[in-house]
Amino acid sequence: MSYSEKVLDHYENPRNVGTFNKDEAGVGTGMVGAPACGDVMKLQIRVNDQGVIEDAKFKTYGCGSAIASSSLVTEWVKGKTLDEAMSLKNTLIAEELALPPVKIHCSILAEDAIKAAVADYRQKHGGGGEYTACNPPKEH
């Protein structure tokens, strides 16, 4: 598989790798996984009093495209409001990184991760419903 230059750039110099304390009041944490390839992604945001995302960090165990997708998203969401972050579409990520069709699921993973992070933050602050990725989890 040949990666695009942008994917390689994010893969070799990933932005914002790291972790915030998930118990901190201003921090929202999103964790998602892709069984098809076994990728695990954690994306965290730090939100200020004005509801703007000040900082973002990620940790991804997966292929180059998954790492690049999460790295790109942490760059994009800085300075955005929660609603703006919620409206982020995976197609934009895929387009920016020129992901081939077999790697589109990596961009879906990153979109779901940021949405899960925003939902986690909102839940902590008593507003909005829980975001449950694309499909609701099975009940049992």
């Binding site: 998602v32 996984g33 069984p35 098809a36 779901d112 694309c134 049992h140």
Partner: protein
């Protein structure tokens, strides 16, 4: 032979997760002998082509039923469930947390060339994979709870990937 048969019926097996591996091997060998290309050496072109299609079909069915992962995935497909749907990224948080921790430990063990650490991780992951396979059998055969089986299979997939990562780590240390 009937092309519309499912993989289990093809080998005369009941469609369950727990299978008789010997019966599967036996039925596979019998079928392969029956449709071996040599037996069609003097047959017409159409018959030869059909024998070839059957051979391919039989191989595919055998490989699917032999692997626990593929067999469970196939059983769920028979129930109309696509367990590996890429659009479904939701997994229980505590499960993902554990996966994250294991992968962090693996990276640390690899960086420190910690062979014993790798072995401990491998043991833990193998035990968890075994547990999930047992649970899968209970979900599929005893309880017939297919949504639960789907989630168990998805978890098992992460374990398979992690065990492959451990194998790669061993190879890097050598």
């Amino acid at each position: 032979m009937d092309f519309n048969q499912d993989h289990f019926a093809l080998f005369g097996l009941t469609p369950t997760f727990a299978i008789d591996a010997e019966a599967l091997d036996r039925a596979y060998r019998e079928l392969q002998t029956e449709i071996h290309p040599d037996r069609f050496a003097h047959a017409g072109e159409a018959e030869q082509r059909l024998a070839m299609q059957w051979s391919t079909r039989t191989n595919e069915a055998y490989q699917t039923l032999k692997s626990p992962f593929a067999r469970a995935k196939y059983l769920l497909e028979l129930q109309g469930i696509q367990a590996m749907d890429a659009n479904n990224t939701a997994m229980p948080a505590e499960f993902l947390m554990q996966q994250m921790e294991w992968r962090e430990s693996l990276m640390a063990a690899l960086a420190a060339a910690d062979y014993a650490g790798l072995q401990a991780l491998e043991q833990a992951a193998k035990a968890e994979a075994e547990r999930l396979l047992d649970l899968l059998a209970a979900d599929l055969d005893a309880r017939r709870d297919y949504p639960a089986a789907s989630e168990t299979l998805r978890k098992y997939r992460f374990l398979e990937k992690f065990l492959a990562d451990i194998d790669n780590a061993y190879a890097e240390l050598e």
